[in-house]
């Protein structure tokens, strides 16, 4: 680390902007102008998340059973479950790795011909076929060619099984090799150790095999495909152009959907949707069966905008269309301008005066609400934390917090205004509640309302303490438009993708990479796909520092 300093604090967008001056004096550096020794920050070795494990065995073996779902959940840090520094190991995890490997292997040898496609053990000999399996399959499982000692090691496991009195079949040999490979650190972890020869100082590039793996887990959350393996084999992942070309191709592949869904599930807190529960006395339209539809609507929408649509952040925030089936469309009522029939989701036109992008979707509105009323607090918090990258303090430990009882003579806004006026709460709640008021046309399940308790809805709220969108807004459509044009929001989205894609938080040393991302994002009209390709073009992605075999004096728990 430069100067031996290892700072790994989470940095807010504001902080990042202010520290850009330290490098390059505010000059907008394209990556080519950045010295390779700058903005190189190593990612600790990381193990596959359950999501990645599932996608990997799908692509490796055609196993679509999501076998990793039984593993302990990942540690969630900085909003994501794929943060390398936070992923711990435990006895339970290791025990479950063994059992999952056994299950997957047992299923796989059910179709032995698919595992050993070009070799017939009867004709070619079990040894020959065993070895070719170890070599060919091993290269895909470990995402690089095996060393001679690795081949020998797996061959002796194979030999053990085919010579064991109680096992003895060729399939048994293949099965135990599979079990061992699926428990190998070369499968479970993603080592990115780099080349031996530095390009500058102690900065090293990655091998083409490592780069193929970096690309595939970043853009597909899975292993490389045949083409990536082929370019790795040919050592053609050396230049930025080669890497960008692959990234661009990969985003056109179906597997990019996994990335888009995984990211948005976490960024937009869609897992919270699963535990939503509503008071059906207040909301008779609510039914638990709506929850998966709400989630599917958001997922289909973001996937469409990014992969098939214009890909812009503005469209994500302001589009006047969405995706629904009949049941969901009837829940939305007159906000949906098209008529929809049947259980299939299709694109629908929305009333542009009442709905805008994912922000006003029923799923988000219902998640950030109470069981019997909307919650200006939760909605404001969501906008602040997820879209503006503010972190709000939790309530003081000694403060008693009381959501208001329903009052038939007041609107929710009136009630929360009273609470917000309490000086003990005002400090933080002026940051949240007024943003939440802007969403008051959406009730606790996200349905549009013009009135509450006989009074007209007042969806005005004053947004304060932002970088660039302070002001009074009337309704979420207006707010969404402002958010789409906000540099704070744009840079927040870019930093969320940074954390998710690089599996780590932004550090002070990342400033030139962050600046590069923000510059390209801006010049592309805030195109998400473009941002993803740019994530493969930063020093943070392209290089690491040579492996230090001795303890780092300033290291320690991260």
């Amino acid at each position: 680390m430069p100067q031996g300093i290892k700072v790994c604090v989470l940095v807010s967008v504001t902080f990042l902007l202010s520290c850009n001056g330290a490098i390059g004096g505010g000059e907008r550096a394209a990556n080519d102008g950045v010295a390779k020794s700058l903005c190189v920050v190593d990612t600790p070795i990381r193990r596959l998340t359950r999501f990645e494990y599932n996608r990997t065995v799908r692509d490796l073996l055609g196993d679509t059973s999501n076998p990793a779902d039984v593993l302990p959940p990942e540690e969630e840090v900085a909003g994501f479950n794929n943060q390398a520094a936070a992923l711990t190991s435990s006895d339970l995890l290791i025990e479950q790795y063994m059992k999952v490997a056994e299950d997957v292997s047992a299923r796989a040898v059910g179709n032995i011909a698919a595992l050993v496609p070009d070799c017939n053990p009867t004709l070619d000999g079990e040894d020959t076929c065993g070895l070719s399996f170890i070599e060919d399959f091993g290269k895909r499982a470990f995402r690089r060619p095996l060393s001679q000692s690795e081949r020998d090691r797996f061959k002796s496991v194979f030999d053990w099984a085919v010579n064991d009195a109680d096992l003895g079949r060729f399939e048994d040999g293949i099965q135990v090799v599979l079990e061992a490979m699926l428990q190998s650190p070369s499968f479970l972890y993603r080592p990115e150790l780099g080349e031996e020869t530095p390009v500058e100082g102690d900065v090293v590039p990655f091998t083409s095999w490592e780069m193929a793996t970096k690309l595939s887990y970043m853009l597909w959350n899975s292993m490389p495909d045949a083409e990536l393996f082929a370019v790795a084999e040919a050592d053609e992942l050396r230049t930025k152009e080669q890497i960008a070309a692959q990234a661009t191709r990969m985003l056109e592949d179906e597997k990019a959907r996994d990335l888009i869904r995984n990211f948005h599930t976490q960024w937009l807190l869609l897992t919270h949707l699963d535990s939503v529960s509503k008071d059906t006395g207040v909301y008779p339209a609510y039914d638990d069966a709506l929850r998966p539809l709400w989630k599917e609507e958001i997922q289909t929408f973001v996937e469409h905008v990014i992969l098939e649509g214009d890909g812009s952040l503005r469209t994500l925030l302001t589009a006047d269309y969405s995706f629904m089936n009949e049941e969901l469309a009837s829940f939305y009522g007159t906000d949906v301008l098209d008529s929809v029939t049947g259980p299939e989701f299709r694109q629908v036109q929305l009333d542009p005066d009442s709905r805008a992008g994912f922000l006003t979707s029923a799923g988000l509105m219902a998640t950030h609400a109470n069981a019997n009323q909307s919650s200006p607090v939760f909605r404001g918090k969501f906008v602040r934390e997820q879209l503006m990258c503010n972190t709000l303090p939790p309530p003081p430990a000694d403060l008693v917090i009381e959501p208001p009882e329903l009052d038939p003579n007041k609107t929710t806004k009136e009630q929360f205004e009273e609470i917000g006026a309490n000086p003990a709460c005002a400090g933080c709640h002026t940051l949240m509640n007024p943003i939440g008021f802007i969403f008051e046309h959406y009730d606790g399940v996200g349905q549009w309302r013009d009135q509450q308790n006989g009074k007209d809805i007042d969806a005005t709220g004053e947004v304060v303490q932002t970088d660039d969108i302070d002001g009074i807004y009337d309704g979420a459509v207006e707010l969404a438009d402002a958010l789409a044009g906000s540099t704070q929001v744009q840079e927040c989205v870019s930093s969320q993708w940074f954390r998710f894609a690089y599996n780590r938080t932004v550090t002070q040393e990342d400033s030139c990479s962050v600046e590069q991302l923000n510059d390209v994002f801006r010049s592309s009209g805030f195109n998400i796909k473009g941002l993803l390709v740019t994530l493969t073009q930063t020093n943070a992605f392209l290089y690491r520092r040579a492996v230090e075999l001795e303890p780092n004096a300033t290291g320690g728990a991260q």
Binding site: V9, V77, L92, W160, A180, S277, D398, E402
Partner: protein
């Protein structure tokens, strides 16, 4: 939820669908052929966690320990002579530690150690640009310490067994067990998986079991060699991470061939898990019951001597929809209302009463298993812990600790003790003594000078 696969050869039915038939069935169980209890029954320790504090105002038992009319604990009345209620035991260390009320309460309760600095979990005053972050718990927890010590004497199939009911996330708010500082221990949450992990051996034919063990050993040997070669290429920090992984494999291999010293009551429990996911809120009671059934059977089978059952996590948002009186609001939200809010107080009474009923169910199962002259409960100490004293104030003073079972006469049960502000570290020290693995202090020495007085 898929029903547990049952083999036709199953000999006895243990815990059935209802509480009522669980206990009498135990006596009717046939002793398993070829499995005999040898030697004296071992001591066991079980930790039981519930969240968000309790109704401190009504929690204490009456002077005569007659719980039959108690608003919270009436269900525990049959076991009152086997209980110790502890008033006035504080988590002092939580007030020295970084971290918010729930974080410290959770990470300190079994460690008596301060939370580590770190950049993982946000706490307290974390305005933009001025965020305060914390790491994981800063010490080994007492359950893991005792498990490690026992492992020096005897290898059981599991060194310790951590079970959870809808714990879900993995954060400093949701982990109470630590194998070492910075190394949280996750609980097993899926009852189906849990059943297979714990009990599939029992019904396997011995030949097939041996073959499984033999092949696992061959595979793990290769995996360990592979690890060693792999680690040579890594940097120092990464190597530390992989070392832990490799150690877990070694441990797993060491336990492969453990033949369980089946007790008379040992067998596969029968679980009736209705449809739906064990993760859904309304499955909480059913999942909890299955986990309790399996925990008790694991002890009866001597699969482990150290266990825990963690209900949800600190800041638990479980909605107690199955308690009719309770509004559709989560536990944490309810625990935040002012003491003057009668409806919330009534709900909190119901929630904590429900947990007492579950505790009584567990004690009933354990007390129904005869081990020589004692019951399993008598040979065990079950320790009920909570990260807080009370939810709305987040106090970590006067934590509602209950001990159940005498741990083979070590504890003087059937009493209510007011410790008047003693630090909870002393209770942790007492537990090491009870399990014959005594230490002088545990965690922060200042808050654990010797055992807690009055317990023995």
């Amino acid at each position: 939820m898929k029903r547990i696969k049952r083999r036709a050869m199953l000999k006895g039915t243990l815990f059935g669908g209802t509480v009522a038939i669980g206990l009498p069935m135990l006596d009717a169980m046939l002793p398993r052929t070829g499995a005999a209890q040898t030697g004296a029954a071992p001591k066991r320790i079980v930790f039981w966690f519930t969240a968000n504090g309790t109704r401190q105002d009504i929690w204490s038992p009456p002077g005569n320990m007659d719980l039959s009319g108690h608003p919270l604990h009436a269900a525990m009345a049959p076991f009152s002579n086997k209980l110790i209620f502890l008033d006035g035991v504080d988590q002092d260390v939580a007030y020295d530690s970084i971290g918010d009320g729930h974080q410290t309460g959770m990470a300190c309760v079994l460690t008596n150690a301060e939370i580590l600095p770190g950049t993982l979990f946000c706490e307290g005053n974390c305005d933009a640009g001025n965020e305060q972050y914390v790491g994981w718990g800063g010490g080994q927890s007492v359950d893991q310490y005792i498990a490690d010590e026992i492992a020096k004497d005897v290898i059981t199939k599991f060194k310790s067994l951590e079970l959870g009911v809808q714990v879900r996330s993995s954060t400093v708010w949701s982990r109470m067990s630590y194998s070492a500082p910075d190394q949280p221990v996750p609980p097993r949450e899926d009852p189906n998986e849990n059943f297979t992990d714990l009990f599939s051996d029992i019904e396997s034919d011995p030949f097939a079991l041996q073959l499984i063990q033999r092949r696992r050993k061959s595979v793990l040997d290769a995996v360990m060699e592979d690890h060693a070669a792999f680690q040579n290429r890594l940097g120092y920090d990464d190597k530390q991470k992989l070392d832990k992984h490799l150690q877990s494999i070694r441990d797993l291999e060491n336990r492969l061939n453990v033949t369980t010293n089946f007790g008379e009551a040992c067998g596969q429990p029968e679980l009736n898990l209705p449809g739906g996911s064990y993760e859904q809120n309304d499955m909480y009671p059913v999942t909890g019951k299955a986990q309790m059934d399996m925990l008790v059977m694991a002890l009866a089978c001597d699969l482990t001597r150290v266990a825990s059952l963690q209900w949800s996590r600190s800041v638990s948002g479980v909605r107690f929809n199955w308690v009719p009186q309770i509004l559709d609001e989560g536990h944490h939200g309810l625990s935040h209302y002012d003491d003057g809010n009668g409806s919330a107080r009534a709900d909190l009474l119901e929630i904590n009463k429900w947990y007492s009923e579950q505790f009584a169910y567990l004690l009933g199962l354990m007390d129904g298993i005869q081990e020589g002259d004692n019951t399993l409960l008598d040979n065990t100490v079950v320790v009920w812990v909570n990260e807080l004293g009370k939810g709305n104030s987040h106090t970590r003073r006067d934590i509602p600790f209950i001990l159940a079972g005498g741990c083979q006469g070590y504890f003087n049960t059937g009493q209510h003790i007011d410790s008047a502000g003693e630090p909870h570290g002393k209770l942790l020290v007492s537990l090491t003594h009870a399990m014959d693995k005594p230490v002088n202090t545990f965690g922060v020495p200042q808050y654990s000078q010797g055992p807690l007085s009055g317990l023995t």
